[in-house]
Each structure stands twice: as structure tokens, then as C-alpha cells.
């Protein structure tokens, strides 16, 4: 399963790696069969992703696609970032071996969880601060 140069570059020098202590949202996604785990940390301001980082337990494809995914969402609005799926990540990496495309699925999934976490935290902090949102 030969990876292309771009994948190998993101595998050997991944961008945005590591835990983010002051994240606004944290999400994780795992693949229970293989034990893969991706964690995404977000800093958000005005619905724009100001900062993002990841931690990944997985194969080279999982690491490289996590790295590429974080590069792709940085600076985007949450809404735009949520449209990025495994195919788009694989394309940005200039292709992935057929049996490895699945490995790019965890980063977007963890990202959605992180956004969820961010929304919940925001809601509860709003609540704590006495601000109630109308729910319909």
C-alpha cells in the first residue's frame, strides 16, 4: 500500500499535533474494531475556527488525514468546515490507497463531536451567565 509523497509528508511532519489545554471544544471518534482513536481540539470565535489540533492513534493514513483535515478547517466557519468529508481530505492529500480511504473518516467525525461539545459548553456557560436562548 504505497502512500504518495504528500501523505508521507503529512505523516512524517504532521501539522497541528497535540493536546490543547484551553480548547473551546473537544471531540473524539474511535473505531472499535481496530482501536483507532482521533481527538480534535477546537478554538472558536464568532463561529470561525481560530485554532485546531489533533491527537491520533492509528495508521499512517489516519495520522496524515488528521493533519490535513486540521489544515483544511483552520480559519473556516464551523458550517463550512462541517462539509469537509473523508473524500475531500483524501483529495487534498492527492489520493489515498483504495483500502485506506476509510482511515480518513475519523477526523471529520471527531470534529463534529468537538463542535457539539463546543455548542454544549457555550449553552451551559450562557445558562450559567443567565442568558437563555429561545428554543423552538
Amino acid at each position: 500500500m504505497p502512500y504518495n509523497r504528500k501523505v508521507m509528508e503529512h505523516f512524517t511532519q504532521p501539522r497541528n499535533v497535540g493536546e490543547m489545554k484551553d480548547a473551546d471544544g473537544v471531540g473524539k471518534a474511535s473505531n472499535n474494531v481496530d482501536g483507532d482513536l482521533v481527538v480534535i481540539y477546537l478554538k472558536v470565535k464568532d463561529e470561525i475556527i481560530q485554532g485546531v489540533s489533533f491527537q491520533t492513534f492509528g495508521c499512517a493514513a489516519a495520522i496524515a488525514s488528521s493533519s490535513m483535515f486540521t489544515e483544511m478547517v483552520k480559519g473556516k466557519s464551523i458550517e463550512a468546515a462541517q462539509r469537509i468529508d473523508k473524500q475531500m481530505v483524501a483529495e487534498a492529500l492527492e489520493g489515498m490507497p483504495a483500502n485506506k480511504v476509510e482511515c480518513s473518516i475519523l477526523a471529520p467525525e471527531a470534529f463534529r463531536q468537538a463542535v457539539e461539545d463546543y455548542r454544549q459548553r457555550k449553552e451551559s456557560s450562557l445558562r450559567k451567565n443567565g442568558v437563555y436562548l429561545a428554543k423552538e
Binding site: 502512500y3 505523516f11 499535533v17 473524539k28 492513534f57 495508521c59 499512517a60 483500502n99
Partner: protein, 393 residues
Amino acid sequence: MEHIYFDNSATTRVDPRVAEAMMPYFDKWYGNASSLHSFGREASEALDEARERTANAIGSKSQEIVFTSGGTESDNLAIQGVAFANRDAGDHIITSAFEHHAVLNTCRFLETQGFRVTYLPVTSVGMVDPELVKEAITKRTILVSIMTANNEIGTVQNVREIGGISHDNGLLFHTDAVQGIGKLPLEVNKDNIDLLALSAHKFHGPKGVGALFVRKGTNLRPLVYGGGQERGLRSSTENIPGIVGLGKAIELSKLELEENVARMTSVRDRIIDGTLVGVTGCRLNGHRVRRLCNNANFRFDYIDGEALVLNLDVKGFATSTGSACSARSTEASHVLKAIGIESEHARGSLRITLSKMNSMAEAEAYLETIKEVVTRLRSISPVAMLSKQEGGA
């Protein structure tokens, strides 16, 4: 950067002396061994000599050697061969749960053909208990097949004892010795072996050629039919350069066995001890003592084997995770499962397999690099979260 090759259980570099022995048979003595003319005679003499060398290396007679296309075909010829030729005598086969796929998948195929197969469990260090072999024998058993040494974790079985049990019960005993040649002293008579499979590319011979020792009087059904070469057991124009290469390689491996084993053992021990001491969250898979002189197999917490192998490759070390043959799937290997290692731990396995061509300096270079690579991959991995999960599980 020179690459350091640590994947010798997958395949080996052809020894220059072997390559040299083969060369003339490509474009000088290129005859068909069945031909009457001088080209044919050159070929058939080379064939005879290679057969003798092979027989000498394992203590058999020349006429008991059948040349094949490799370990897989040898295993299949032995197992399918015995099964289909002895169907009247029985329909039950005993093997282990962590054989190479060449044995396991052949047995699974035979199950679809009405045979019954017992897959014996192995211990947590990968040993087959000879007592279990004894217990598994029934009136319908025709064959016991237990590998000499495991290709992934390197455990060396009690072949002689298991062969003895088989013979005491009137059963044929086959052993997949593909990983044993050049690393263990094997003698088919002393070791109670009736069928022994080997593959040249695992001991510095060429790919695509192997042999099966078939004890005189053993009845086999061939896999392929044709011109009747190899006493009808394996028809096809003989692969003379390949067979010459096998003969040369197995002769060398026998001649130089002691010094090669000593050398590999010391390099292997440095690698095992250095890794276990130098890297945290790392354990050895398999038996510490009953182990091939060229095999080290570790599991590293919180990192993935493919990532490890690729990162080591970038750093100049060729290694593997799981058996080479299963590298196409991301599943944990059946061998690691068989010794009871599951999920994340199986994921982080690394196999280092040496040959006579590896040096202590290469071991030292590796020990530097493995620390660096494991540290880097763990810095990417959500280690804290994984260790928490684990504590909770």
C-alpha cells in the same frame, strides 16, 4: 542513506555466491532437463546435484526431495496431497491455530471438502503442547501438521516430540520448516518428520522455488498434472536456475549454520534487551528462549504498527508488523490473536527478523532510532486518553 534490512522472515537477499551459481543456467546451460542433448544433460546433472545438496542438508535421500515453486506449494502438496490420497484411511487432520496461511487456509479448504480439522491452541508464548496433540488423535486422523518455527513470533516447537507422538500413533507428520532452514539443525529421520516444506528465498536463495521432503513410501496426490517431472508429483519444466540456487543456498546454510546462528543470536539479544530496557510501554511477543535466533517481536503501547514500520522505513530500517503476507489488511494477525493479544496491543506490534548479513552496528543504530520513533508517534497519539480507557476497561 543505506537501508538496513530487518525483514528476513518475509524474504532475504540472495547470497552473491548463490546468484553466481545460478547465472550460467540462464543463458549458457539453458537446456530442459528432459532433453537428450548436451544442454539437457547439463541441466539434468545440475538438477541431480541440487537434489543431493538439499537431501544432505536435511538428512534425507535424494529421491525423497520434490522441488516446487515455494513454501506455499510445498505445504499444499503435503497437506492436500496426503488428504486426498489417504481418504480411505481417514478424514481428520491435526494442526495448530497459528500456522502460516499456507497451512491454515489449506486446512480450511479441506474442511469444505469434507475433512475435519483440529486447530490446537497455543500457549501465551506460542508453544503447541504435545499432550494436546496426543489427545486430539482419533481413529480417523491421518495427518499431524505443526510448524517448525513460527514466522511471526519465532517460537520453535518440539518437532521431534510431536513427530514421535504422530509415529507412535501411525500418523504422518508434516512440518512447515520454511522459517527453520538455516537457523535450526533439522534432520528428518531423527526429528520424526515425514513431510517437510521449505522455501529458498527464506535462506538467501531465489524466490519462486521450494522443496518438499516426502518420506519414501508416502502416498501423495499431486496438485498439478503434466509431463510427469519430479516422479509425477510436480509436473512442469524444472526451474533449473532456481533449483541450482536453492541447492547452493541450502548447502551454504548448513555449512555455516553454527557461525550464522551465533551471530544472529547475539544481534537479536542486543535488539531484544536494548528495546525492552530503552523503550517504555513495550513488551516481547513470544518465547524468550525457545525462539528463532533471528526473531524479535515487540508490542508498543498506544501506537500503530503500520505507522511504526513506515516511520522506521523513513529512517532507513526495513521491518514489519505481523506477517508480511497479511500486511494488506489492517486486522490484527491471527498469530497474535492466537497467543491472546488483542486490540491496541496487537496493533502496535513490530517484527524484526535478522539474517546472517546483519551486524551488531545495525542493531545499535536501530536502538537509537526506535526510541526516537516511538517517542514521536506517541507525541501524536492521545496516550493519556488511551491509558485512561485502558484503566477503565
